[in-house]
Every structure is written in C-alpha cells, then in structure tokens.
Amino acid sequence: MSKHAKDVEEEAKADMTPMIDAVFLLIIFFLCIDFKVLEAKLPAYLPKDKGSNNDDTPPIEQLSLKIICQQEGTPAERRPGSNSKNNTMLVGHVVRWELGPKRYDDLDKLKDDLTDIANDPRRRVPDLKNPGKMKIMPIVIEPQPKTTYGDVATTVDAVSAAKFEEINFGGGRGAK
C-alpha cells in the first residue's frame, strides 16, 4: 500500500468518543427529568345567580349527592423524611355517598345507578334555555366535612361518566 493511501485511511477514522459522551449525557438527562403525567379535566359550575330575585321561574328539580367522610384516616408520610409541604397521605380514609335517601359504599355502583337515572326519560326536567325541550336533571354535589379534593374529583368523574351535564356544588364546603 502506498503512503498516500495509508494517509487517506487514517483521515477517514472519526473519533467517536465525544459523540458517545454526548449521547450518554442525553440519556441521563431524559432518565432524570420527571415526565409530567397527562392531566384530565372535569367541568363544574358554581351558582351564577344569587341574592334576592323577583323572577317567577319555577324551581327545577335536581338530584342531591352527598359525600360523607366515614373514616378520616391516619396521616402518614408519602416519602419518609421529605420536606415537601404536600407529603401527607391519609391511610384508611373512607367515604360513602348518599343519593337522596339511598346510601352507597361503592363508587362504581353509584355510577351505574346514576347512569340509569340519566337514561330514564321520566327523570328529565324542562330545559329553561330551550323552551319545550327536556334535559337531564341537574345534580348538586354536597361534600361534607373532612372530605378531600380526591373524594370530590373522583365523584365528579363518575357523575360526568354517567352523562350528567349540569354538575353544581352546594351544601357548604365541608367546614373545618
């Protein structure tokens, strides 16, 4: 082999070390960052109208769903020794639901019954925004003391899955 050909062969050899370093750094970076879990959303409404009102509109029938804390639960650390201000979880926290007079301990059973109500044409109420039409009865969620955001949000999730469109909040706010 001539000297010239040998030189060309040496020039073509790239040093891969820095590229591998960079690739490893990228791998470490992507392993370390905490990918945010996709968030979901649920619509809910507050009473828009308040104060005394002279309107002659008839009151609309609505379902009342109470969330009652049965066992508050024992506070425990999520991550032992962490300084985070959101480091508490409640072990053994139990809630139940009351839909009118009926009591539920299982959210899935509640959701099934709510679905039946939403699908029952006899339980429809007049839609004041569209005169002459009927709509699914509104539902009022009433969280009682010691209930948590998790209890309420999962309940709203089930109510929403049962196809209720108008979800309102009432019954105070779970006073401390």
Partner: protein, 165 residues
C-alpha cells in the same frame, strides 16, 4: 473529524430544553392529583387560562406565588377574601377574554365565562377548594362561575410511593 462543534450544539440544545420545560411547568405545582377514570384529557388547553394550585396546607398558588396562606393570613372567610379577591381581579384584567356585565338579583355583576382550572392535591381538604369556589362566585366585579377540576391519568402516589386510597 473535529467533534467539538457538535458537542457544543448538543449542550446548547440541552440547556434550551431544560429552560423550556421549566418555563412551561411554572403554572403547575408539584401536586399529586387524583386519578381520573373517565375524564376528558386536557389536550387542547386555551392559550390563556388561569390555573389555581391548592396545596395540602391550603396555600393557594398562582405561577409559583402563594396568594393566600391560611397559616399566615388566617383561616376565616373574612381573612381569606381580600387575598383571593386580589388574585381574581388580576385574572380578570390580564387573563380572561369572555366577560359580561349581568343584572343578577338586582345587582350588576361582572360575570366571567372563561373557566378556571383548579388543581389540588388529592389529600387537600375540600374545605380549602370550597373556600376558593365560594369567594369566586361572590365577587360582583369578577364572578368566576365555571370551573374545571384537574385530575391525573394515573395515580402518581401509588406509582411513586405505593400509597393506597
């Protein structure tokens, strides 16, 4: 082959992504949200939507700033109201587009029809979320009445810490 420029570029890209990720997450506090089974994914959020974060101790945080802290400001409605009201007025002026003046119960009320996204930790007492909601609906000059409750596609508490509901 000189690899130095490529490594420079890679480092610049890394720094860029680190900064971009940090900026896009400044609205979101590090809370563990309850798990959603049926809720709609928040895939196309509006350009401008106020997001309130409510921590376990009741602090109400907007863009990393705690506007209301029960331990510092007091826990009664009267003590909370001016701090939360300050935030609502800021939202009304800077963040919302759909607002109308309506006559409700004989009073003129500025009704905000854009929703607020409420993010609270799954173990935050509902009392604090209810307090925020009550004050939202009571303002005559910035009555927010539409809310969206944030949930998560998976229960991070179970995933990270093995917690149980």
């Amino acid at each position: 082959m000189d690899m130095t420029p490529m490594i420079d570029c890679v480092f610049l890209l890394m720094i860029f992504f680190v900064l971009v990720i940090d900026l896009s997450q400044q609205d979101l506090e590090d809370l563990i949200l309850p798990e959603a089974k049926y809720a709609v994914p928040d895939e196309n959020p509006p350009d401008v939507r106020p997001i309130i974060n409510i921590a376990q101790d009741g602090r109400m945080i907007f863009k990393n700033n705690p506007y209301y802290n029960p331990a510092e400001h007091g826990a009664t409605d009267k003590q909370a109201e001016p701090h939360i009201r300050r935030l609502l007025l800021e939202w009304k002026d800077k963040y919302v587009k759909d607002k109308t003046v309506e006559n409700l119960g004989g009073r003129k009320v500025t009704v905000i029809n854009d929703p607020v996204l409420v993010r609270a930790d799954k173990w935050t007492e509902w009392h604090y979320v209810g307090l925020f909601m009550t004050i939202c609906s009571q303002q005559t000059d910035a009555a927010f009445w539409k809310l969206e409750l944030a949930m998560s596609e998976e229960d991070k508490e179970v995933k990270l810490f093995g917690g149980k509901r």
